[in-house]
Symmetry: C2
Subunit: 214 residues, 2 copies
C-alpha cells in the first residue's frame, strides 16, 4: 500500500491563499504569487502546455517528484471548482481545463451527489458524499500500490492530519507575507501530531521542507 501525502505552498506567514478569493482569483490577493517557484519550472510548463523551456533546477525536481508515484488524489469541492452555487450546472467541470494535471482518479469531497466526470489525459473526477474516510478508502483502492495525494484545500488537509492518516508531507515556504487569507495549519492541537524533518531543499523562490508524521 502506498503513502498518504500532501505537498503544498504557503507564505512565510502561513497562508495558502490571500484575502478576497473570487472566481477570477481563486487564491485571493497575492495567492497566485506564492507559486512563482513552480510556474517557472520545466516540469510545470510541460504539464500545462508551456513547452519545455522552463527552469530545470531544484524547484523543477520538486515539481517532478510531486507527480511521481501518485495513484489517486483527494480534494475539497472548492479546489475542484468553486462554491455550492456552481454545482447546479452539470456542464461545469472545474477549474482545471479539459486535460487536468492529475492523469489519475480524483476524489472530490462534496455534499452534492454527481456522476463521475471523465476528462482528457486520464483524470476522472469522482464525487464522494459520505466523508473523508470513505474518500480515502476509495482513493487507496484506485491508487493500488501508488500513493494517495491530498490535493487541498487547507481545511481538507487539516481534517486528514487530525484523523492521523497522513504519512508524509512537503511544505514549500515562499518568501512572502500575505497578511491575511486562509492559513494552512490552523487549530492543530499541541503534541497530538509528531513530526520529523526528512529534508530541506533551498531555492531562491521557496524553501521545500519534507516532514514525516510518526
Amino acid at each position: 500500500m502506498g503513502k498518504v501525502k500532501f505537498s503544498v505552498t504557503m507564505s512565510l506567514d502561513g497562508y495558502v491563499a490571500g484575502p478576497n478569493p473570487r472566481f477570477e482569483e481563486p487564491l485571493g490577493d497575492g495567492g497566485e504569487g506564492l507559486h512563482e517557484w513552480m510556474f517557472q519550472t520545466a516540469g510545470w510548463k510541460r504539464e500545462h502546455g508551456g513547452g519545455e523551456e522552463g527552469a530545470t533546477g531544484r524547484d523543477d525536481e520538486i515539481v517532478r517528484e510531486s507527480y511521481e508515484n501518485t495513484g489517486a488524489y483527494v480534494m475539497g469541492r472548492q479546489m475542484f471548482g468553486g462554491g455550492e452555487g456552481d454545482w447546479g450546472d452539470e456542464s461545469w467541470k472545474g477549474w482545471w481545463g479539459d486535460d487536468p494535471p492529475y492523469h489519475v482518479p480524483v476524489f472530490v469531497l462534496t455534499h452534492h451527489p454527481r456522476e463521475p466526470v471523465p476528462m482528457e489525459g486520464g483524470t476522472t473526477f469522482h464525487f464522494v458524499t459520505d466523508g473523508i474516510e470513505s474518500a480515502l478508502e476509495q482513493a487507496r483502492a484506485a491508487a493500488g500500490d501508488g500513493d494517495v495525494q491530498i490535493a487541498g484545500g487547507a481545511d481538507v488537509i487539516q481534517q486528514y492530519l487530525r484523523a492521523g492518516v497522513v504519512d508524509e508531507f512537503q511544505v514549500s515556504v515562499a518568501p512572502k507575507f500575505l497578511g491575511g487569507g486562509v492559513r494552512l495549519f490552523d487549530g492543530l492541537g499541541n503534541d497530538e501530531i509528531k513530526l520529523q524533518v526528512v529534508r530541506a531543499v533551498e531555492s531562491p523562490l521557496a524553501t521545500h521542507v519534507r516532514y514525516r508524521v510518526f
Copy 2:
C-alpha cells in the same frame, strides 16, 4: 553602521509561544519545546553554564552566529520580564538571571521609566519610554559598527518589520504544531515587505532560513 536583524524560532504553524503563558512557563504550553534544537548545542550550554558537552553540528553554528557581531539588543518588556505588575518592584531584574546571555546593552521598550540596570557579564538593561524609533536609535549608537538585534517578542518584531528598518532575519522552524498561542507573523500586509531567501540550513530539529528584506 551595522545591520538590524532578528533571529527567532517558530512552530510549523507559525507560533513563537504556545497557549496559556504564565510566570513559570513564559512561552506557554509547548513553547519551550520549540527551542530543543538550541538547548542541545555546545554554544547554548556554554552561554548558560552547562559546560561544553553539547552538540557541535549545524544547530550549534547557528547559535554561535546569532551572538556574533551583535552590539546591542532591543526587546519588549514582556521579554525582559513579564507584565506591568512586575514593574512596581525595582529589585526585579527580569527572567535572565544575574549574568544574562547578552553581554552588551539591551534596550527594553516600556511605558515605565526606570534607571538602567547593570548586570554581570556586560549586559545593561536600559528602559526606553519614547517608542521604537528612539529605542533603535539608542541601540544603533550603543552598537557602533556592530549589529542591532531585535530580541522579540513577536509584536516588537512586527512593529520593526512594518517600520521598514529590518535588514535581515532568520526563522528557525521547529517541526511541531502548537495549535494556539502567539503568531510570529500576523497582520503584515501583502506586498509591503519584499523578501529574498539568503540560505537554508537543515537539521533534524529545525530548518533555519535566513531572509534579506529589500
